[in-house]
């Protein structure tokens, strides 16, 4: 199964570049670990939520606003997509992500449309 590991935390402070470097090194270690195991499918870091733009279409009108979808203290800062045999394996990876120590990692199983061809039309129509 594939799982999205969504990393939530506070936006990084601009005034502490050393802490930022140490964190990047830790993320590099984690990325290397999952890549070596052959389970890494994707992984990206996102710019701070102050860089976010949110788009809604209502009655054919595109509404564009500054900022993230929801104003919360902890924001989505990055994500990995990993292949794991089951939730326990995904939990093991999530717990290794540096952001889990001061923020939280949300694990979301990824829908596998290829395993349910009959459901594909329904699912794509509903979402």
């Amino acid at each position: 199964m594939q799982y999205a590991l969504l990393i939530y935390g506070q936006d990084p402070a601009d005034d502490d570049p050393d802490a930022g470097m140490a964190e990047i090194a830790e993320y590099d270690r984690f990325t290397g670990h999952v890549r070596d195991r052959g389970v890494l499918r994707a992984g990206e870091a996102l710019h701070p939520s102050t860089m976010a733009t949110t788009v809604r279409v209502r009655d054919g009108q595109t509404l564009t606003t500054d900022g993230p979808f929801a104003e919360t203290k902890e924001v989505l800062g990055g994500f990995y997509i990993v292949e794991a045999a089951d939730l326990d394996e995904a939990i093991t990876y999530a717990a290794m992500i540096p952001g889990a120590r001061n923020g939280a990692v949300e694990i979301r199983p990824i829908v596998d449309f290829s395993a349910m061809p009959g459901a594909m039309a329904d699912a794509s129509g509903a979402s």
Partner: protein, 410 residues
Amino acid sequence: MATLIRVLGDFDLAEEAVQEAFIAALETWPTRGVPANPAAWITTTARNHAIDRLRRQRVLRAKTEALTRDATIDGDLTTTDVDPFEGDDTMPIIDDRLRLIFTCCHPALALDARVALTLRTLGGLTTPEIARAFLVPESTLAQRLVRAKRKIRDAGIPYRVPPIELLPERLGGVLQVLYLVFNEGYAASSGEALIRRDLCAEAIRLGRVVAGLLPDEPEATALLALMLLHDARRAAREGPGGALILLADQDRSLWDAERIAEGLALVDVAVAARRPGQYQLQAAIAALHDAAPTSEATDWHEIVGLYRALLVYLPTPIVELNLAVAVAMADGPAFGLAMMDGLFDDGALAAYPYLHAGRADLLRRLGRWSEAITAYQRALELTDNGPERTFLEGRVEEVYVAASRESRPD
């Protein structure tokens, strides 16, 4: 059932397949005779039904592959072309139950869902029975079960006994669910007596399964001991009309000697592993109560020590309250009262009727009548449990009588 759920990864499909297998059994056993191992026969037949269904519905191709793979791994019982009448290996079925307990109690499921799923899947209780036991509408409980099963399937919660490095953490979750089920049955806070007894019986039965299959885990053994030692006192806890009888006032000849003997022996086994834990401490406390001929003859000093140790594992105000009660028994009510008064400071227990009732009891024993009455009345305001209210009202009456006797000695 547990075997099939693991193999198929789908509760509903497994339930259906088992039903079909039972129908097949009704049709064939009368003519062919009951097989040597009926459970294995049902499992294999249900599995074959499930495979047929899966093949018909190509949508679940991935699961058919899992089935085939599994069939290769444990070929004896599970290959699809074996004569089911020859299977005699029941061990995989027992192991599957353990796997299923860990699945049902997975921390990725909400606690109330874990409890419901464990009782429904591993216990002998029906959905309406569980709903009645936990005082929730049947539809709510059914929803809870559906959602939990869907999460197990869609989030990929594994069917397995966790690897050794996860075992302590996960076993704790399993024991928590079993003890919660037991307590729900034991603390007669509400609901029907019969169903409450069922809950205790189920918790003990599942506790036996877990302790039996994980003999090297002292906490599992200790939880079984703890439940047996509590359950042994059941008959003595209730007076006529369901009246509450406190431990100190119970007729100890009504205690179940067999359960106590089993519980005491299990405590010894658990403690011998020298890996202490919260259930061992609680079981040791229960053991001291159960082994004592009277309340006065109880080793209260030892109980005080055990509660102090338990506070390290369970730093909760309730444990502190129990410690204060034990201190009152060991060193005198004034010492216990001082500890209880301290408990009001953190506020967590201010609305807890047992703190007020406990304080009232100590004030009564100290002859501080008017304060005792105030405390009993505060406890009465905070509980709507019938037997408990009757008990507290009785105590208020006693204190009035004692106080008036003192003021007019003749």
